[in-house]
């Protein structure tokens, strides 16, 4: 089971990606759990994540979040802004899988 945390300013726009990414995962037979949170919420829920993806509009949080996850074996990256704009769950899933390779 892969645990993914999507982070944006209020957890609203990333939440639109959650279901689409879950659908893509089901199609491709990937076991995954995804949640979307605001930056403030997310900081309390870093433990237990495998991958944290930031919305491109909060890419300036990358450094701070990376620092918080130091030594925890959590991969952190920014969601590709084209896939984000298209709410393309399949692309996001591919990005998650690439990060875990």
């Amino acid at each position: 089971m892969i645990n993914v945390l999507l982070v944006c300013s209020a957890g609203m726009s990333t939440s639109m990606l959650v279901q689409r990414t879950l659908d893509a995962a089901k199609k491709r037979g990937v076991e995954i759990s995804i949640s979307a949170m605001s930056e403030a919420e997310a900081k309390k829920h870093l433990d237990g994540c495998d991958v944290i993806l930031l919305g491109p509009q909060v890419r300036f949080l990358l450094k701070g979040i990376t620092k918080l996850t130091e030594g925890k074996n959590i991969k952190v990256d920014i969601i590709n802004s084209v896939s984000y704009g298209r709410l393309d769950g399949n692309d996001v899933l591919s990005q998650v899988l690439r990060m875990l390779e």
Partner: protein, 443 residues
């Protein structure tokens, strides 16, 4: 040129990253978030208290008796009137937590220091000082900026003591709660003594408490600045400006100016609570939290519903037909990342002007509509930022505010349309060319 602008973007991203990772800025932004449930639920009670219908008071008094409003006032008095107390604790809490220090003791300490620094009495109608109170004027809106300062200074001293190991050491086996209580002793001694000395000095020089002094020299000018026509327009421009670089402008600008626009709303509420009518230009502030949340950022920053409507009605290209379909529902709830990144607007020189111009126009119209007295100025009653436009206007300021929103939305559609059509025509041509190529491949 392209090189310059991408350089500028990299630098901007770097500065924004640096700025937003400052401990004080994080604590301010994340701390103010804690006031949200308090003020939103308080708003429900406030709206029931002040329905914008004539004869409403008499109607309610007829059903529930002459004191019908009193229990409602208990709730609003315990929410909006203590937002500075909530903020001072929340900001200190977040600051300490980010520094991996025990946060709850730090929050209480900030509260104590804040109360040391506010007046301990109120004047009754005859001008006599009455003790035994915590004045709600300073615990609420007028104490907001001071609350931020007291929280940050207290939390930094607390964390400093923690870092330097300045605490009373406990032997192994002592429960954690006890350790925490004792570890706050030295920072408590430092900060409370500091507050004590500051109280004496400020009182001697200015005849008032620190919180009153900060209000006069800092908060009033800041509120005045935010409440000007230029301030309102600048705020709208900056939100879009940052978004154009792909940075969450509403979050960034709101994080800084939010406490001031909130104080503006609370100042208006104080006028309403005193039984007076808000009149712009006399006793009302115009640029309130509601203007920032429910007007300038309607349908998402940039008022991008104009693009969505254009896409749904006129798109020829598959790309923008799909984008319009995808963006409509989130747009109604003021979320527009699909447009910002999907169109994209980010770093798109053609869309820069409408994307900044439309919110600036919105700020100007909202400001003028309030200034001339057409739209009411807003008090503390707030609706969540995700409330769809027109509904939000109606809830906040009756049909007049809803009408102002409708006019702005209509103008947004008109202004965006020619820009959208150019983008769409290019996308359509690209798609046609791609189809031709595919056809060629078939042969």
């Amino acid at each position: 040129m392209a090189g310059n602008s991408s350089n500028f973007n990299t630098n901007l991203q770097k500065y924004v990253a640096k700025f937003t990772s400052l401990k004080g800025v994080i604590a301010l932004k994340d701390g103010i978030v804690y006031t949200m449930p308090v003020s939103l639920i308080g708003s429900i009670f406030l709206m029931i208290r002040f329905m914008p219908f004539t004869g409403y008071d008499e109607f309610m008094a007829g059903i529930f008796g002459p004191n019908w409003a009193e229990p409602l006032n208990q709730v609003t008095g315990a929410t909006f009137d203590i937002l500075a107390l909530v903020s001072v604790m929340a900001i200190a809490y977040v600051y300490a937590k980010a520094s991996k220090a025990e946060p709850l003791s730090c929050a209480f300490l900030a509260l104590v220091n804040f109360i040391i620094l506010i007046p301990a009495y109120i004047n009754d109608a005859a001008g006599t000082a009455v003790g035994g109170v915590i004045p709600k004027a300073w615990a609420g809106g007028q104490g907001m900026i001071a609350a931020i300062i007291v929280a940050l200074v207290t939390a930094e001293i607390y964390c400093f003591c923690n870092r330097k190991g300045l605490r009373i050491k406990m032997p192994d086996g002592v429960p954690e709660g006890v350790i925490n209580a004792f570890s706050a002793l030295i920072p408590a001694l430092f900060t409370m003594t500091l507050s004590f000395i500051i109280y004496i000095i400020v009182k001697a020089i200015t005849q008032v408490t620190l919180i009153e002094w900060i209000y006069q020299v800092l908060q009033v000018p800041l509120q005045g600045l935010s409440d000007s026509f230029i301030g309102c327009i600048l705020m709208a421009f900056l939100i879009s400006f940052f978004w154009w670089f792909g940075i969450h402008g509403a979050n960034l600008v709101g994080g800084i100016i939010g406490s001031i626009t909130l104080a503006n709303s609370l100042a208006n509420q104080a006028v309403i609570d005193a039984g007076e009518t808000l009149v712009a230009g006399q006793n009302a502030l115009i640029v309130t939290d509601q203007i920032r949340n429910n007007f300038i950022a309607m349908t998402g920053s940039g008022i991008s519903i104009g693009i969505v409507v254009g896409a749904i009605l006129f798109a020829k290209s598959k790309q923008y037909k799909e984008l319009g379909r995808l963006s409509l529902v989130p747009g109604l709830f003021n979320i527009n990342e699909p447009i910002v990144f999907g169109m994209p607007i980010v770093m798109n020189t053609r869309m820069f002007w409408p994307f900044t111009l439309v919110p600036v126009m919105c700020a100007a119209i909202s400001y003028i509509a309030t200034a001339v007295g057409f739209m009411p100025a807003f008090g503390a009653a707030a609706v969540p930022w995700t409330t769809p436009p027109i509904i939000s206007g109606f809830l906040l300021g009756g049909w007049r505010a809803a009408l102002v929103q409708i006019i702005i939305l209509a103008l947004a559609c008109v202004i965006y349309l020619p820009f959208f059509k150019q983008m769409d025509a290019e996308a359509f041509a690209r798609e046609a060319a791609a189809v031709d190529e595919d056809d060629d491949d078939d042969f």
